[in-house]
Symmetry: C2
Subunit: 440 residues, 2 copies
Amino acid sequence: MARQSLSGFPEWTPAGRVVEQHVLDHVRRTFELHGYAGIETRAVEPLEDLLRKGETSKEVYVLRRLHDEGETTRERQLALHFDLTVPLARYVLENTGSLVFPFKRYQIQKAWRGERPQDGRFREFTQADIDVVCQDAIPFQFEVELPIVVAEALGGLPIPAFRIGVNNRKVSQGFYEAVGIADVEGALRAIDKLGKIGPAGVTEELTTVVGASPDQAEAALALAGITAPDESFADAVRALGHRSDLLDEGLDELTRVVEAGARHMPGVLVADLSIARGLDYYTGTVYETTFVGHEGLGSIASGGRYDSLVSDGKRSYPGVGMSIGISRIMSRLLGEDLVRASRPVPTAVLVAVVQEESRAASEAVARALRARGVPTEVAPTAEKFGKQIRYADRRSIPFVWFPQSGEVKDIRSGAQVAADPEVWEPPQSDWWPHLVAAEN
Amino acid sequence: MARQSLSGFPEWTPAGRVVEQHVLDHVRRTFELHGYAGIETRAVEPLEDLLRKGETSKEVYVLRRLHDEGETTRERQLALHFDLTVPLARYVLENTGSLVFPFKRYQIQKAWRGERPQDGRFREFTQADIDVVCQDAIPFQFEVELPIVVAEALGGLPIPAFRIGVNNRKVSQGFYEAVGIADVEGALRAIDKLGKIGPAGVTEELTTVVGASPDQAEAALALAGITAPDESFADAVRALGHRSDLLDEGLDELTRVVEAGARHMPGVLVADLSIARGLDYYTGTVYETTFVGHEGLGSIASGGRYDSLVSDGKRSYPGVGMSIGISRIMSRLLGEDLVRASRPVPTAVLVAVVQEESRAASEAVARALRARGVPTEVAPTAEKFGKQIRYADRRSIPFVWFPQSGEVKDIRSGAQVAADPEVWEPPQSDWWPHLVAAEN
């Protein structure tokens, strides 16, 4: 990471940015390969629109023009968006006439929250979101597709193993109703604290605050204890001996998600019936992703199915979405040195300059190499070759080209060979900076 | 463009974003091929740091936390950056210990100004900057390199022809001094108004405000009238019959820039001695770029050589930089429909689903295609094929794959052929969305 002069506003060194750019490119390419179209929305929304989602209102950064001459009293007050979902809803509503549904979109942008910075929590952070938004009704298949796309986006990167936990609001709600817990929201809030206050604390809250009987609390805890990387979770739920139509529907849906997950990426997707976060908002499948061995970092990719992203009064727009916390991932990768860039500059070749009068010959070599996609610089001054080699070495450029002899030198090994700029290629691993995973 | 609900905060439709992403990818790749490393800086800077560049202070957006409980009186007040140069200076100063100089960096990010929106002027806009920053001294060669990199970044795109005008502070200042104009800054300010108030107005200002004699004013206007796409501009200047060492130095430098430009991209780089904007800040070469036939849009890529980006008291950091106005370019391309995307979605192929029970077979086809880089979706529901084809058509997906017959159909022409998902490729022009330039 770069020296951080403002807490909560992380910046990376050039080498760190190589890692982040690699992650972003891989994520974007995966989204596009699955047919998601990229959009960007402005950084600001009218404050009143952001405050509709009341809970996070306290974290919003409000804007004012420094030399405001009374315009903002006439204009609407603006604030920085705190996620990419509110902007998506507004964008969909403004462009219903020109968008085609299902609207499959990805969006990789910064968001801002004024909350106190902590490990993995920033005031400025980059999110990579995918959502499918439909008009009126949404095929269930998209709830199956989303975690697979995200697993592919995170897979193939030199990052720690990860696990996508899935649950379904219908399972929790259907089960609570079958058990006879009237305050479903309250029960979800209690179960959400399982990691923090433990089973005894949750039982206490369920019986005293939520009004559940000891048997009901025990049943709710038993449900939350079920986790499995395959459809066996459904038998475990049924073995608890409660049923309702909603529970059956939820189990069927969750089974479809888990089965598809097992088919595409065995072991990554896990039914985890303790997941309760966001179930007040999400109405079907919900997702939470953690790095194995870094669970304390929190979720690195979350989301779920929502019945109505937005409504224009006539139609509603249900959808399903997931959001990858790029900054959270990056802070762990770079902060614990889990991944490094092979070099901080794109340049593979420095073309030496014999004397200023022959600079055009060096430029011709560089142009030929660049035309074939080899990142190439020309030495800025015709110093002695020793100095030009040190220039390359200081900048971590692996090859130096000598145009007068027509030779290229690997300055790490010292090996020097005759080479034609129309043909020569660097080894694949030296072409662009690549990522190196830590040994541990 | 998308429907714009906040003036000055442009957003593009998905098809417009395809165009912008194409431009951004090409610009980034060009920068990297020339050895520039990408960085990102946070969106905010302490207000006091932004205000050092006094002139633009009135345009700054200041941030405040909505439920601020007195922290901001203790914390420093933050504001959104209005360019990428102030953040670069701060980043360099904070990381001098870990950066390697020359620090060649590019930075593609949003910036914000609270000014009144106009054609090509936004409150939120994307800039693509390259700068070379050195310690203590900077090789002149980088002043030659920068416009060539920018010309390559803009070249090869389906955009209007452009012209990079170059001047050099030393030419203007050296000439004015040789002529005997004492108030160099005043003369530059007057010449800067040439386009707006014409030669008569400039003469008036030079003689009354700047204190030049009629002969001196005539000489200054004669200098500003010189423009040439090659080194002949220098003879034209010398023919005016004034000389000084500074003027000679400036003419030599500008000649090097123009000669290299003519060698790399004939006709694009033009010595234009009327350029005076920014010469209070820039100390050597300056650049201004316009679309030919769209001069009213203003400069789409500007910059120059500065003696000191920043100083830490012990060392100074001279540099040279250019900034491409991506949003300004995009607003013209999309606003006048000069360029279009061949389709708004990345998807080349929709794999049909015969029935839900055989969805796995469709997924296998899609996986095989994606593994070879073909953007592919699977139909979300096993509707009748006619409906699945209409789904593809509505989303502008050119090909539909039928897994049971092993055939792929170009739904534009109706042509249907047997195909193997391990081998079949879409035509190159259909693989990803491409850009189509307008006919005019």
